[in-house]
């Protein structure tokens, strides 16, 4: 059951920030509510101290998608349905559109928001690996400051980010991406819909002839939070995209994940699948 709470419906971002600034400790932003409401129902410890909710869902100054010179700007409260439908995202940042399409079900995608996905920072947040390979930068606002930082730095550990109680993630910026980049996204869940991810992978590659000029690799669900694999990326840059090397890289990804998580009951299944699937993704990307 949901505890007794207060509810504030601001008319714009400024009003939302003012409400947050006044009541820092016990107030929380709600957008789609697809994490908070079920969390209340099961009396999750993460939401127990909340006394007031500020509902930012549908605020016009948080629900835009604008293409500008420095990249694509996506409002924090844009829903996954809007991301799936957006022609620019489908064309220019397809991995994000694919990941958004695999979030929950129609009903969940109609409510759940992009910033909510990574502010909640569950290990299995589907949109995080694509955002990480696109080098997403986020804009955070409060009444006292406005700052931008890479999403990668914002995410600290499971369910923990740099977000302060009086702050809102107002937008996500995806820098322009050269046409030569090819990418793939993979999600494994126990079923096709309303499935919590067991494995997510995102990879972007830029080839010059057969040489890997740039590569970006990110995972979710198999690591404590969504993350990039910089060492592997550095190792791969300048190498030739041949079968043997791609296999070697895939094996290394599994080893890297094992190093991070330690041996788990699911490792015997997940690690070979990660390695196989990553190899398949690399083959697809490099042979296109």
């Amino acid at each position: 059951m949901i505890p007794e709470i207060g509810y504030i419906r601001p008319r714009n971002l400024r009003e939302a920030l003012e409400a947050l600034g006044e009541n820092r400790e016990t107030i929380r932003v709600i957008a789609g509510g697809t994490d908070i409401i079920p969390g209340f129902h099961i009396n999750s410890r993460r939401f127990r101290d909340i006394r007031t909710l500020v509902d930012i869902s549908g605020l016009p100054d948080l629900t835009f998608v604008d293409l500008e010179n420095d990249g694509l700007h996506i409002g924090g409260a844009v829903t996954f349905t809007d991301i799936v439908k957006n022609p620019i995202i489908r064309e220019e940042y397809p991995l994000l559109a694919q990941a958004a399409f695999r979030v929950g079900s129609v009903q969940i995608r109609n409510r759940a928001t992009i910033a909510g996905n990574f502010v909640n920072n569950a290990p299995c947040a589907d949109s995080v690996p694509p955002l990480l390979v696109y080098d997403a930068v986020i804009k955070i606002q409060s009444t006292r400051s406005e700052k931008t930082l890479p999403l990668e730095d914002f995410l600290l550990k499971p369910y923990k980010t740099q977000l302060q109680p009086d702050e809102i993630v107002s937008e996500i910026v995806l820098p322009p991406l050269k046409k030569e980049y090819r990418g793939e996204f993979y999600k494994l869940g126990r079923r096709r819909s309303v499935a919590i991810s067991r494995i997510t992978l995102a990879v972007l590659v830029k080839l010059q002839d057969r040489t890997i000029e740039d590569i970006r690799i990110a995972s979710g669900a198999v690591t404590p939070i969504g993350r990039r694999f910089r060492e592997l990326e550095d190792l791969a840059k300048g190498e030739t995209a041949e079968v043997d090397f791609l296999k070697e890289l895939s094996v290394k990804l599994g080893e890297e994940i094992l190093k991070i998580t330690g041996l788990r009951w699911s490792s015997a299944y997940k690690l070979p699948v990660v390695q196989q699937m990553f190899y398949l993704l690399l083959r697809r990307v490099c042979n296109r």
């Binding site: 949901i2 007794e4 509510g33 209340f40 109609n110 309303v194």
Partner: protein, 203 residues
């Protein structure tokens, strides 16, 4: 024959009630009563300090309500408006039984605070009826037997309605995708899908 029907006129409910008070006594009855939604509603009604006015538009009719912020849309639809066609099963945004349309989009009503629906238009399964006439989707579910126990059916139909509003001629794959947020524990999926495709044909 006649005698038999007289003896069975004691309804199942009356029988269970009598049985309950006779055997387990009033303590058990109180326990049962407190687990009933009505009792919860009464308890909530006693606590009205935190209530907020809400103009809720459901099936084209606007209700002026006063609700606590912690109540979900599903609770208000079922308890305050007594529109009990909307079912709450998992109460966790996974099963789809509570699916309603919010401004024409399918949503889980157990997932949404009632106050969040202010200014939006809600459609429930009751809103599909035209008087006594079943909606084409409802007819299709009857015709194609898309129902087994029937408990998930209102949610299934609302998800299907949202799908058909966007895509009046869906392929089977579109139906599979659009309906994937709704579970059926009887496993009547093949017939549910047939029903939706049938409705799309007759629409």
């Amino acid at each position: 024959m006649k005698k038999k029907s007289v003896s069975s006129s004691l309804s199942r409910r009356q029988f269970l009630k009598g049985f309950g008070s006779g055997v387990a006594g009033s303590v058990a009855l109180n326990k049962i009563a407190s687990a009933l939604p009505l009792q919860k509603t009464l308890e909530k009604a006693a606590n009205d300090a935190n209530r907020t006015p809400l103009n809720l538009s459901v099936n084209g009719k606007t209700y002026r309500l006063s609700v606590e912020p912690n109540r979900t849309l599903a609770e208000v639809i079922r308890e305050d408006l007594q529109l009990t066609g909307t079912k709450v099963v998992c109460n966790h945004g996974e099963c789809g039984a509570c699916t309603v349309l919010l401004d024409g989009e399918a949503v889980y009503s157990c997932h949404i605070l009632a106050l969040d629906a202010e200014g939006k238009s809600v459609t429930t399964i009751e809103g599909l009826l035209g008087g006594e006439e079943l909606h084409p989707l409802q007819k299709a579910f009857v015709k194609k037997d898309g129902i087994q126990c029937g408990f998930c059916t209102p949610g299934q139909i609302m998800a299907a309605q949202a799908l058909l509003l966007k895509n009046p001629r869906p392929a089977k794959e579109d139906v599979l995708e659009g309906m994937s947020g709704n579970l059926c524990r009887c496993g009547a999926y093949p017939k549910i899908i047939e029903s939706v495709l049938e409705a799309a044909k007759t629409d």
